[in-house]
Symmetry: C2
Subunit: 207 residues, 2 copies
């Protein structure tokens, strides 16, 4: 084998290895768009994650505070669904801690009542009487970062992209500390996160 | 450069490329244990997925049918949380169809009432009055496979690992068709899946 042929053979093998490795990567990467880095604009506003990517993230819990049980309009109407970014989820499972850079997202939907509802806002469906999910009605994010939010309690900052149907706002300003952090600080079980409502986190925490 | 040195240089570069690619892959792969293949034992029973891996899967919806609103014991007590396996999720987003091999998991939790509850089973929490998640109380799986279940309606088979706190049963027998499929066939909006209750699926379906 001549020197040029030898180089080409090795280079070809190298390319094959890299390609095979990339295909394997892509199979895994497409299964979950797993790494999310929060992006801010030049005004410091948080940009709405693209393509509803939070809906690919691990789910940690949900609750429902129906308007009908809360004087007509609940503070968070009505189903709340909470997600954590995948990298921080892996970190939490290993350490039981919310790492620097943890992102927690909360999406809201109205209760379902297409054909009327009971007085308490519930509906009668084939699996029983209760609260089922209607249309989307809001989206919020909280981020823990000592680097970005050195003065916020627990280094958590809170952003709301609106309590309204989609489309959500494209950007969100950081909420004043008293708007969100005060309540999380007073009542949340663990590092300002309401883990008492999230069985997934309770179960995942290392013993 | 001598021939041996040249080969070693190219081989070294090749190794570096493969290693870098592998590190990238691992970062993605660990973020989500993304590929689940249902496993059956020799009796044809479905084996409980290991390490609660469904809690890493995409969430598609949740509902709550409180015992207190269902004559003391709801058919599915009480919060139901539904997940879809990640590969089938990607397929659904592209095609709006449940592919051969789709796995949908449903995990149940009781409502939270550590310090007593209201008459309707709700509790008063800092975010309002409503239904919050207590402890796990059951786990079920359904699989769509023409190959495995040619005679089942829509080729869906249903398995229950118990309506009880963890640990769930290690294996589950296939449910009789009339136990689950009949109701899904009669009332579910799309291919025997209750997409009318799952905003994530409704939003993800290609227009």
């Amino acid at each position: 084998m001549r020197r040029t042929e030898l180089i080409l053979t090795i280079a070809g093998f190298c390319l094959m290895t890299a390609t095979a490795s990339s295909i394997w990567s892509v199979q895994h990467a497409t299964a979950q768009d797993s790494i999310y880095m929060p992006q801010h604009n030049t005004k410091g506003e948080l940009i709405l994650p693209k393509n509803h990517s939070w809906r690919d993230w691990p789910y940690v819990g949900s609750m429902v505070t129906p308007n009908a049980l809360n004087g007509g309009e609940a503070p968070f109407p009505e189903h709340h669904v909470t997600y954590i970014d995948p990298v921080s989820w892996q970190h939490y499972k290993k350490t039981g801690k919310f790492r620097e850079g943890t992102v927690i997202a909360k999406e809201l939907t109205r209760v379902r009542a297409p054909d009327g509802a009971n007085k308490d806002g519930s509906t009668d469906e084939v699996s029983g009487t209760g609260y089922f999910m209607g249309e989307y009605s809001g989206f919020e994010i909280t981020i823990k970062s000592k680097k970005l939010y050195p003065k916020e309690p627990g280094n958590w900052a809170y952003y709301s992209f609106g309590h309204k149907p989609e489309p959500y706002n494209a950007v969100a300003k950081k909420q004043p500390t008293e708007a969100c952090a005060a309540c999380h600080q007073a009542s949340a079980a663990e590092d300002m996160v309401f883990t008492q409502f999230y069985p997934v986190l309770r179960a995942a925490k290392p013993k």
